[in-house]
């Protein structure tokens, strides 16, 4: 069940970009916490730059987190972009369009990439999948990972989360003929 957002969500000044840089930093970090909590409770991996949840395959017409109808406030897009760029800097979000500064959608990381990596490694160990080639689809969408927090993770994000394991020489990512990561082997 989605959890209700904390009371600060109904605090009108949160929706106006604060001119004082120290207060603004505080404001952005509150927004980051809000977004992470919102994404986690909705199990949303991906959000559009406008702040609505994007689910694969289906066009979502959900309301944006940056629009609060109850108090009739919304965050201006310029400030939203600032929030996103700060989140990307702090490793709490990844733009889906790599290389570009502003992308239309963002992956939300309510755990850090390293934390996801170790969780995935745990799955590999407990499911007895070491020394085997496992496709990324199998890992993130397959029936065997149901019940794990990373189940349902978009494949490109899963590939990103596997990179720390590669750096630790615990895993190798196998690319397909187009250079897209498709599988991983963990030892």
């Amino acid at each position: 069940m989605p959890m209700p957002l904390p009371p600060i969500y109904s605090f009108p000044p949160l929706y106006t970009r604060q001119p004082n840089s120290i207060i603004r930093r505080q404001q952005i970090s509150s927004w980051m916490d809000l977004i992470l909590q919102y994404a986690k409770s909705h199990n949303a991996w991906c959000m559009s730059a406008e702040g609505s949840i994007v689910t694969e395959g289906s066009e979502s017409v959900q309301e944006s987190i940056f629009v609060n109808n109850e108090i009739e406030r919304s965050v201006p897009q310029v400030f939203i972009n600032e929030i996103w760029s700060t989140m990307c800097q702090e490793g709490k979000a990844i733009g889906t369009d790599k290389g570009k500064k502003e992308s239309p959608t963002y992956y939300i990381l309510w755990r850090t990439v390293d934390s996801w990596a170790s969780l995935i490694l745990q799955w590999f160990e407990s499911a007895g999948k070491l020394q085997q080639v496992v496709t990324i689809y199998e890992l993130s969408q397959g029936d065997e990972s149901i019940g794990w927090e990373f189940h349902g993770m978009p494949e490109p994000l899963t590939a990103d989360c596997l990179k720390p394991l590669c750096h630790r020489h615990r895993a190798t990512i196998v690319n397909d003929e187009y250079g897209k990561p498709v599988a991983v082997k963990v030892v």
């Binding site: 080639v133 199998e138 020489h169 196998v174």
Partner: protein
Amino acid sequence: MGQRPSRVKITKNDRAILQLKRSKDEIHKFAKRTDNLIASERVRLKTMIQEDPKHYKENPKIRFLLKRIHYQNHLLEQAGDQLINLENLVSTLEFKLVELQFVKGLEHGNEILSKLNKEFKGADQLMDNVQSQTSYQNEINDVLARSVVGVDDFEEELDKELDQLEEQFILKKEPQKEPEIQMPSTEGLPDLKSEEQDSAEHASEEIIGERALA
């Protein structure tokens, strides 16, 4: 510079299994999609029936939709079977790989065993050699023992002298023996004649005891 484990290697077998798994994923995706499709079509069917509750049985659209659902269901079943087949194939392959390891292990073991056995080739000769060496050793021992025989008389003399000394010592010691403790015995005493006499004697003994106490 540190201890870096070597990179995880992707073998040809891994690639082959990967191909298989990718097709498995495709089927899995298809199954999921079809599942969703069936669910949404069922919802549509329901609403269509609700819209036209009287003549829905004659409605060709509804018939068509139902047919479609059945067909999709059929496909889904097939996909499920194929998925199971592929999964079985993957596990069979993985097991075969383990078996391959097993055969390789056996081969290695055999090699090492034959190598070790080769080392044992000289064992017969070695054992013969050891036997001859031990018999030689025994001979030497015999010879050495015999050479001591010349002194044997002397040993006997020594024994004799020791015996003499012992006799002397024992003789000397004998008088000092502690005298045997003479315990009172009833031997040689006349048999008790009657109980009265006994009690009388008893009484006198008591008197003596009392006097002693006084």
